[in-house]
Symmetry: C2
Subunit: 225 residues, 2 copies
């Protein structure tokens, strides 16, 4: 599973210098020590010339998706591998059996630590999180994950319910599913070019954390895990 | 659906006076303006004589459960009513079609506003959230919800999968399901006495937000909603 174009990044310098963020500058924090977050930096984001700014500054979306994925029996039994690809082509490998804090402020601290140090390692040496810079989505798919099929989820896709999608995935040895980790808009071109089949799973526009929850649950059922 | 014994409350006075929280006292905030939160008040909570303190101070759990419930097609089509019962016998009625912020800090602000004003009303007059004080769980069930069956979820229950539970619920006109909104431990006695059948839905101990997601999804499927 890849969470793609995820709205996770530290604060771009042009946002940091926005007049509305004087308090933050005065706090002594560097922009690399702050996650871009629409809750606090909305005005600076919307008034910036940041590319596709409507897709950015929503680390809370990743938090909720991961809380849903990592709490499934599937993940707890190490039967799914999870990668996070960000809007800035950083890739985070989620360690096996990882648990992340439900508290957002703890999660934020963890992610900032990861961005600074590129790795989070447990006391016993287990790799919990690893971040690679400048890894494009297509490169990650072709060189790292090497799936035999790539299925994406989007309201622009053809309708297929979760059970139907899982039946299709079941025919492959190393299937890969792609979910958007951003609040609105669509996958970037580089991602779309990697996707073999794009599906819409509901007549309503479902949020990503609902899609992953239902998909992994059906996958558990079809595999009898 | 009732989220029961939820670990949501403002800061009890005995916690507020704990030596470790001098900074908070100095900030000028009243204890009634602060949600008890293990992330920030852990030491004060564990060293207090607060009853069942292991079940308390986890408003993040409610946030994640609600994000999962309120994002389902079932809720968006107004086919499920949701109540939150807290460890201190406050009851929150969740308004139809409500959306809550994904950002935890915004959610916290909303809840504090609700606790202070007892109601959150939209600009057009729609009731979004309403809080009742001193409403015991059994009273809420008997006088307000009046269900014809009450099903609870707990690791102490008999095993039944989500599909099986939904088939049972399907036989009733106004079934009620009870999920714990606390981090560990079991339902309080008053709640247990209201539950007709208690089920365990997994061989692993599933977190509440996973249970509600899967349950509502199966309920949608069995009803063809």
């Amino acid at each position: 599973m890849v969470i793609a174009d995820t709205a996770l990044e530290t604060m771009p310098i042009e946002i940091f210098q926005h007049p509305s963020l004087k308090k933050i500058r005065d706090s002594g924090k560097k922009p690399t020590e702050i996650l871009l977050d629409r809750t606090f930096h909305h005005f600076a984001i919307v008034s910036s010339a940041l590319k596709e700014n409507y897709k950015r500054g929503r680390p809370d979306i990743l938090h909720i998706i991961l809380l849903n994925v990592l709490a499934t029996p599937l993940f707890k039994k190490n039967l799914v591998k999870v990668f996070v690809h960000t809007i800035n082509n950083q890739v985070i490998k989620i360690g096996d059996y990882l648990r992340i804090p439900k508290s957002y402020s703890r999660f934020e601290g963890l992610v900032l630590d990861l961005i600074e140090n590129k790795k989070i390692v447990a006391k016993d040496g287990t790799l919990l999180l690893e971040l690679s810079d400048n890894l494009s989505f297509s490169h990650m798919i072709e060189k790292k994950i090497k799936p035999d099929v790539v299925i994406g989820f989007s309201t622009t896709g053809m309708f297929k319910n979760f059970g139907g999608v899982c039946k299709e995935l079941f025919q492959f040895k190393n299937p890969c599913v792609i979910i958007g980790g951003f609040p609105r808009g669509h996958f970037s071109k580089d991602i779309e070019s990697c996707i073999d089949n794009m599906y819409s799973v509901s007549d309503l526009s479902l949020e990503a954390h609902v899609v992953v929850s239902r998909l992994l649950y059906e996958w558990e059922k079809i595999n009898d895990f």
